[in-house]
């Protein structure tokens, strides 16, 4: 009894794939690798999931200006706050705002949905009445941070009720 079950375990059966199945699998793998290489060598993020792995891939010079984009809000309680740019906050991530900065500067009404997102997710908190898209710039000198950042207002939007 014992020997039988042990024998089964000691020499597990091998299920081989037929020539067609095997050939097809290898072909798919090779094409996939080809797409990945193509993506990394020539494509952009648009080719996801076969795009380049370009997160943090750029070389930042030692004297770079580091930009950090944020949204400042004036509330109906009279306070000025930094809008929490994440899903739980205003329902939009900082990266999205940074990626669309140019468009927002051209059309500040895109900021309306930031106010809407905040109001919907936090109905009991003060509402935003005015939004400012602000760019903080930190200066690097010889690879080190030099002094506090300077701020510049890129776009302003009076929130529609």
């Amino acid at each position: 009894m014992v020997t039988q079950s042990q024998e089964d375990r000691q020499t597990p059966a091998v299920v081989r794939s037929g020539p067609v199945g095997k050939g097809l699998r290898v072909l798919v793998a090779v094409v996939g690798i080809g797409l990945l290489i193509n993506g990394s060598v020539r494509a952009s993020d648009d080719a996801w999931p076969f795009g380049p792995m370009s997160q943090y891939a750029m070389s930042v010079p030692d004297d770079a200006k580091i930009d950090y984009t944020r949204i400042s809000a004036l509330t109906d309680a009279g306070t000025t706050v930094d809008v929490p740019l994440n899903i739980e906050g205003a329902g939009v991530a900082r990266a999205e705002i940074e990626a669309r900065t140019g468009e927002i500067v051209k059309d500040p009404s895109l900021l309306q949905q930031v106010a809407d997102g905040w109001a919907r997710k936090h109905p009991d908190q003060p509402k935003y009445v005015k939004l400012e898209l602000i760019r903080d710039t930190t200066q690097l000198v010889k690879g080190r941070v030099e002094g506090p950042p300077t701020s510049q207002v890129l776009a302003t939007w009076e929130v529609r009720k």
Binding site: A13, V14, S17, M53, S59, A95, E96, D116, G117, G143
Partner: protein
Amino acid sequence: MKVVNWFTPAIALARIAWLRTVLYLFVILDMHAFVRDTRDKGEHPGLYQPLLLARLLDLPKPSVANTTALYVVLIVACLIGATNYFPRGAGWIVAPAFTWWVLIGMSDGKVDHDHLALVIALWVLPTVGGARRGLASYGDQTRSEAAGWAIRCVQICVIATYFLSSIAKLRSAGWALTWPGSAVLTWAIVRRPHPVGEWLLNYPWVLHVMQWVGIIGEFCSPVILWLKGRWQLFGALFFLGFHAANTAILLIHFLPTVVCWLAFAPLERIVPWFQARRAKARSAEVGSAEAGSAEAGSAEAGSDDAGETEHEAEQGREAEQQAGA
């Protein structure tokens, strides 16, 4: 032929069963913790910028209806797939559904690069058939080339994530090696302020060392595909440490890639290991009970033990061969 066989090593179906459970449950976690804004995009498609794949397939713009449907379908299919009952049917639903889910999540101008291995894993898992279902599948030692191919694809994608990162770093500098000596980590920390990182800003040379270690590790990562046993484990631990460091400095965890490292682990050994342990405990119990009644019995129990150890050793060797595969 050798090249062909490299893509299709014979690996126990049990590893596929474990991966299914872990990855399908991970998808549910992912939908709530990582790519979690897909349903928000359905409510506010204003910033929606469809990626190439979405345009090629002419996928509809996210709406409350289609993202909610996608959510429900994914949760149900993942739960079914994770049980290993109807894993292929459920798997063929999860693969396109989760791909669409992530595609919407990343169609806002920013693409993350931590989902390659997971998404590909979901597409290859349902290609593997298997005789056993449910609980029995976790111990299925039947080795299959179809299973090996699926495992290999996930392994390749895990490694590609690193290797291609080093390529992207060379490409962005016009195919030059300037990245490791640049201020990229300083830049990243300034933009993601956080105590550990901010403390490191005072020591740019430490950041440069980390950049060099990172890019060399990434560039050499394909070696791990050919390493075996302990050496492969060291390779895996290096990259897990790499992620731990990234998480500490930048709060970037890459968990969807990290979980796919399990494709390298000999998960098929879990059930035999557990069974052997239980069998040993049982025989020890029987041994102590019989010890008082007959002296001859103890000799017999002793020989049984020896048999068990030999059997384990044999299994260990076998499993090691598979793990190296």
